[in-house]
Structures are given as C-alpha cells and as structure tokens.
C-alpha cells in the first residue's frame, strides 16, 4: 500500500491473542494516536455516489 502512495503508518498489523486484553487496548491506543497524527485519509477515498 505504501508503494502505491498511501502514507507509511496508515496501515498497521498486530497479532493479539483473545487473552491479551491489555495488549489490545495498548495497540488500539497507539494506532489511533498514530492515525490522528496523520490526519484524515484524503487520497484513497472514493466519493459517495451522487444521487440526483
């Protein structure tokens, strides 16, 4: 995705077991912070179909 022109960091991967609640919360917080810093995704968005 980054090769195609999506900002690095917008896509993140993690491996979390169903027993790792704290890790889940931690990752979600980190990802949301990182994405908020990047701001809204402006490039890879398809405009809503305009219905007359």
């Amino acid at each position: 995705m980054e090769h195609m022109g999506i900002e690095p960091g917008r896509i993140q991967f993690s491996w979390i077991s169903s027993a790792e609640a704290t890790k889940f919360v931690d990752v979600v917080n980190k990802v949301t912070d990182a994405i908020k810093e990047l701001g809204p995704n402006r490039s890879f968005v398809k405009p809503e179909t305009k219905v007359a």
């Binding site: 995705m1 195609m4 900002e7 405009p47």
Partner: protein, 315 residues
C-alpha cells in the same frame, strides 16, 4: 528464432502421430503483423499451421487450467515457470504434459515498433537478430535488441526450467541485468509522488480486464472484480476503483508472477501494469529469496511457514 518453426512442427507431428498427446498448444500466424495467436491442433496433418518467431509473447500456460487431456505445450522460459506454478497449484498434472521447451531470445514490442513508423506496417520478418519491417513507404531493418519487450530485455530465465523435448539448443542466459531499477526509482519517491505516478499510470485504463484474461495466474472461476456478494471493488471507472482493481490483482499474483509480460502485451491502451507485479516480485526475492516457478520441489513463500519469515511489520 523463426528457425525454430521447423523443429517445432516435427516434434508436434511426432507427438500427435504416436498419440503421446491429444493436442498441441502453440502459435499460428496472426491476421496482422506482430500478432501471432495461440493455436490448438489435434491432428498431425495440421502441424504446418504452427509457427514460432518473436511475436509469440502470449503465455500459453493460460490455456492449461483444469484441462483433462494429455497436452503437448510449447514453453518459453516464462511459460515454463508458469506451467510449474500451475502444477504446484494443482491446475494441471505433470503427467498430462509433454513440454516442448523453446529457448527464447526475447519477444519484440509491437507498440514500440508501431510508434516508430507513420503508416501501417504490412509485414514484419526476422532475420538473424534483425527485424525487417515493410509498410507503405518504408522498408527498414532494426536490431532486435532495440525493440525487445521490456520484460524480455530484463529477462534472466530465457531457457525453459522444465521440458521433455527441446525445439533448439539452450541459449545463454543474460547476466548482470539490473531487473529492478524501475522499482527502486519508485521506492525512492515520496508518498505524494507515488500517488501521482500511479494516478497517471492508470488514467487510461478502461477496465476491459484484458490483463487478467491474458494472465495465466488469473484462473479463478469468478474473479473478485465480478463478484457481487460481497462486492469487493466498485465496478465503475472511478480512479479509486481502477486503482483497487490493479492493486488487488497484483497482490493475487504475489510470489507467482514470472514477469512474462502477457498483461502488458494484452492491454489495449498500453498500460505498464507490470510496475505493480514487479514490486511484489522484488519483495519476494528480497524477503523470501524466491523466484516463482523455478522448481517443482519448493513450495511458494505464501503457502509455507518458516520460523525465520520476516515479521517486522507486526506490532
């Protein structure tokens, strides 16, 4: 390479006469210059239809998917690698195939040649590494090396990797080729530049799907682009839909693409969609030391787990 034609015909005739195969998949002359078409013959008396020259760029492995017959098939280096991929993916059995290896010296780029001349090209012949081009008001010789398809100029596997028969002596492989210069150039771009580059690359796309139809890897009974429940990707001409299509198609080819160039060759508007697949090809080589279709013994990186698989991207 046109001198291969005779030995190909001989081999095909022998295979059909001895009933070793039920059909031969090869090429016949197209109706316009530089457009040979895939051709299937089932009778030894038709072997005269088969030809071989520098316009046989279509990947014949595409015609093997799920066939039940015993088949003789002509295979250049890239075709043979795609045949290996087909066998690995259980799309055909090795026992069904008699592979007629055709050591390849590269295919010519019909677009490049057409662009060089004003007016219709009426005849294109080959002679000892030179290409003779005749048309209205011109009669020229070109060096074949100057008009090769880009993927052929960068090819490092010209000889078939598996074969039962050979149409000619094996050719020398090209060495010291920098296959990924274009990918590195792209990698060095900024995010905005990359986005703009692909926007520009795909702006002509009419979504005819010729690329996926020509591709031997695209054999799914229903392609994701045609599915409607769920609909993975919009069917419109919207730039985002076009980009999603090309991008996902390339990912489906990851670790399988042999850079045969069939997609680019088939494209009616001349989009070089190989820039997508080549990036994945380079990644496979860098991360997994993998080149697709080189051996029947090793499994592709996407269907094996190795403890040392790179996993830096997982947080």
């Amino acid at each position: 390479m046109s001198e291969y034609t005779e030995s190909i015909r001989e081999i095909a005739k022998r295979l059909l006469e001895t009933c070793s195969v039920e059909m031969i998949i090869g090429f016949r002359k197209g109706t316009v210059p530089m457009m040979n078409e895939p051709h299937v013959i089932r009778n030894a008396r038709d072997t005269g239809d088969l030809v071989w020259d520098s316009n046989c760029g279509i990947n014949l492995a595409n015609y093997l998917t799920d066939r039940k017959e015993n088949i003789g098939i002509l295979a250049k280096g890239c075709d043979s690698r795609n045949i290996v991929t087909h066998i690995l993916e259980n799309k055909i059995k090795r026992e069904q195939l008699v592979i007629i290896g055709v050591p390849c010296k590269g295919m010519i780029d019909k677009r490049k040649i057409t662009r060089m001349f004003n007016g219709e090209i009426l005849e294109v012949l080959e002679d000892n590494g030179q290409i003779l081009i005749r048309g209205n008001g011109f009669d020229t010789r070109l060096d074949k090396a100057d008009v090769l398809q880009e993927n052929c100029a960068l090819c490092t596997h010209r000889n078939p990797v598996i074969y039962d028969e050979l149409a000619a002596e094996l050719v020398g492989e090209q060495e010291d080729i920098d296959r990924y210069e274009d990918v590195r150039k792209l990698e060095a771009m900024t995010t905005e530049e990359k986005w703009a580059y692909f926007d520009d690359l795909l702006k002509e796309c009419i979504r005819c799907y010729a690329c996926k139809n020509a591709c031997p890897l695209c054999y799914c009974p229903t392609c994701f682009v045609d599915e409607s429940k769920p609909q993975w990707v919009g069917k419109s001409q919207d730039a985002i839909d076009i980009r999603t299509f090309h991008f996902l198609r390339a990912f489906h080819c990851a670790g399988r693409c042999t850079d045969c160039g069939a997609c680019q060759r088939a494209c009616p508007v001349g989009i070089n969609m190989r820039v997508f697949t080549k990036k994945l090809e380079k990644d496979c080589l860098d991360l997994f030391d993998w080149e697709a279709g080189m051996s029947l013994e090793s499994r592709p990186p996407l269907d094996v787990y190795r403890p040392d698989d790179p996993d830096k991207f997982i947080k």
